[in-house]
């Protein structure tokens, strides 16, 4: 723990604290949020900050604090879906390509190149056009778009490891490739996968927020930070900035925290390898 704290540094620990608060907020939303995030009355719109409504109310009279707390759920769930799928498929593709090499490696690399050609958001929009707007559709489409990034990074690392004695030796002993890959290769590239996932988490959060902002992700009246930025933009111009600003800040702070932790983890992983 002490070693972790030293490697994270003060800012890293603050970032971890922020992530912890956001995750706890998302998990405990039903307990923490004082109001239903989807219910409000226009007669209560644009209430200022008060003991009753800590961050005021939005244009539909909904409690902004409750929407922020509940919004953390979809805002974290979406990127989580993206990084989990990305990590699983990206790693599998990368390790398969590295292990077999030759034609398999070339074929998989070309497929990844093809996926690279599509901008992430465009791919997500295409999927949404076909399957309809929802968080799940947006997250799955983004996951597909992120797989090449993850696969390439893992492949380059695994390629180096592939020819090292701890991999070659069991291979010469006739141990099946799948076993070597899972037991030996995967653990040695795992820190890189975790680092990549944390960095991707931040990117995915921003892009999913952008999709929700465009009305293609989480749908009203559900709470989501990107959606809140979108909903509040007119209120912002009309002198009621709370909804957009606070939701925007939540995205920025969370992404920065996750990114910083990811960066520190990356440094730690590199340090571990050197050791």
């Amino acid at each position: 723990m002490k070693q972790f704290a030293e490697r994270m540094g003060t800012l890293g620990l603050i970032a971890c604290g922020i992530i912890l608060v956001v995750v706890l907020g998302a998990l405990l939303a039903p307990i923490i949020a004082p109001y239903d995030p989807t219910i409000g009355s226009v007669t209560q719109r644009y209430q200022g900050m008060s003991a009753e409504h800590w961050f005021g109310t939005d244009q539909a009279g909904r409690d902004i604090f409750s929407r922020l707390v509940w919004g953390a759920r979809s805002s974290l769930t979406g990127p989580l879906i993206v990084v989990v799928i990305t990590a699983i498929f990206g790693t599998t593709i990368a390790l398969t390509a590295v292990w077999f090499g030759g034609f398999v490696d070339s074929a998989l690399s070309r497929v990844l190149d093809l996926l690279f050609a599509f901008p992430n958001l465009l791919l997500a929009m295409l999927a949404i056009a076909v399957f309809g707007p929802s968080l799940t559709t947006a997250a799955l489409a983004l996951a597909v778009a992120y797989i090449p990034y993850s696969a390439r990074v893992v492949r380059s690392m695994a390629m180096r490891e592939r020819n090292l004695p701890y991999i070659r030796s069991p291979e010469l002993q006739g141990i099946p490739g799948a076993v070597i890959t899972v037991r030996h290769l995967l653990p040695n590239v795992a820190p890189l996968i975790v680092t990549g996932a944390t960095i991707n988490f931040g990117f995915a959060m921003i892009e999913l927020a952008a999709l929700s902002f465009l009305g293609l992700g989480v749908q009203p009246p559900e709470a989501d930070w990107g959606l809140m930025v979108s909903n509040g933009q007119q209120s912002l111009l009309n002198g009621y900035p709370a909804e957009s600003v606070l939701a925007g800040l939540s995205i920025v702070i969370t992404v920065a925290a996750v990114g910083y932790v990811g960066e520190r983890l990356g440094g730690r992983a590199a340090a571990g390898r050197k050791a």
């Binding site: 003060t10 800012l11 219910i39 409000g40 009355s41 226009v42 007669t43 209560q44 719109r45 644009y46 209430q47 200022g48 900050m49 961050f55 005021g56 244009q59 539909a60 009279g61 909904r62 707007p133 009305g215 749908q219 009203p220 009246p221 909903n231 933009q233 007119q234 209120s235 111009l237 009309n238 002198g239 009621y240 900035p241 709370a242 600003v245 606070l246 800040l249």
Partner: protein
Amino acid sequence: MKKQAIAIGSILAIALTGCAAGTSSDTSSSIDTDDLLTTTPAATGELDLVTWNLPFGEPASIDPIKSFNYPENTVVANLCEGLMQLQPDFSIEPGLAEKVDTPDDLTYIYTIRQGVEFWDGAEMTADDVVFSLGRHADANEGSYWAGGLISNIASIEKTDDWEVTVTLTEPDATFNSYMVTPAGTIVQQAHREAAGDSYGNPTGQVMCTGPYSVGEWDQGQSISLIKNENYWNTAKQAKTTQVDINFIVDSASIATALDTGAIDGSYDVPLGALPTLENSEAGTLYLGNSLQLVAIIGTGNGAFADPAVRQALMMATDRDAIAATVFEGTATASRSLVPNNGWAYGDSEFTAGRDDLAETAIDIEGAKKVLESATVDITQPISIVYPSERTYYADIISEIANGAREIGLTVEPEGVPSAQFGAFFSDPAAREGHDAFVTYNYMDVPDPLSFLRAIVGSDGSQNYSEYSNPEIDSLLSEAAAATDESERALLVNQVQEAAMEDLPWIPIVDPAVRLFMADGVTGAPASFVYLYYPWAADLGASGE
């Protein structure tokens, strides 16, 4: 490290200070309909250029027979003219017809105005009139106005050099009023035939007689209207040489453009732009008499298919609050499916008929009682579809959901992209699986008979739930045949009363026309005539 902490602290402080600024609650109330305007102050001078905006976007076509919505009609109204013309006070005056005679309730004899020239200098003839009216019945032309009104036409004949006679199959007292719309708009036959498939688009354009012709049409950006120096109606000659109409749809951009003077004016100012424009020093926000209605349309599916559920929902919904807040006080709660003052005849009868209808005040206990007579499963959620880009609909549905919750119903908003939402009005398959959808509707002509007929008539063009009431159908036919306007108004009142019982649509609010014009520009009508009246011709200098 300290610098980083200070920076983060500063950002948070600025953000929270900004948030704290929004501390006022909305206390505005609905506008008094007596305060709504018909016109804005008349122009006292001429202008070289006025920049306008279409907040609903670019017209898909300027062919009159394909003009059936805000963008197209707002432009075409300045280019092409009808046999009759709607006036800002909702009266109907002769247009390209000098007069109309109705020897019986099936025959309309139009005396065509002589000396009217198209933009190319060719004189308009009775042949052009017969051709133009006949286009609606030609399946190859694809008129959006084909159907009810047009299918009731038995013949269109040139009965003299300057006379065209239209004979109907069944009496329809609203027929002549529709000659103010594209159903009665005249285009040049020769140009139409020469243009082929490009007719109405930026290449083929149109050839009409209006006070403006088409200048440059920069697709996706703007369309320019150029003053017709040879306009036949010298009393209504355009006061502005060129009107550039932009196609900005983003609410915030519109607010900024109007507030900074980048654009001189716009009808249908977005609701989100109102707080900015109400206090703008760049111009004035005018609220005008309207023929518009915001309503919830039933599809005939789910719990919403039960009239008792619809009636209870209407009673439980705080429509006054919606008018005061979502519409920033620029609307009034709807008392009827017919927008307030939406009539050009029978004022005393229609006013009395409206006064007899239930008040708009919220009535939870009454709604609960009505709901007891529902025969459907009221535990099933009611989905109301809206175009997700227009967030004010979500606020309206949210308020409906609040009332619904009070009486034990569940209402859920369902946002769909605008492109998909449009199909709800034209494709029954799109409505399947949905219980209701929102509409920002309007009366084509100031005649409650035509509007109610479209909504509650068995074969009405806006009857989306296959609603059928033989008593209403009979009253509609009787009213259409009534030549006495008072008698017709009384019959229409009976239709209105029955319609408000069954409520195939739930009326929510009657929005006022929202018109903004920059200082120095004036004259545009404030009432809801800009779809069928050459509003741009009235634009001019205010003399300030």
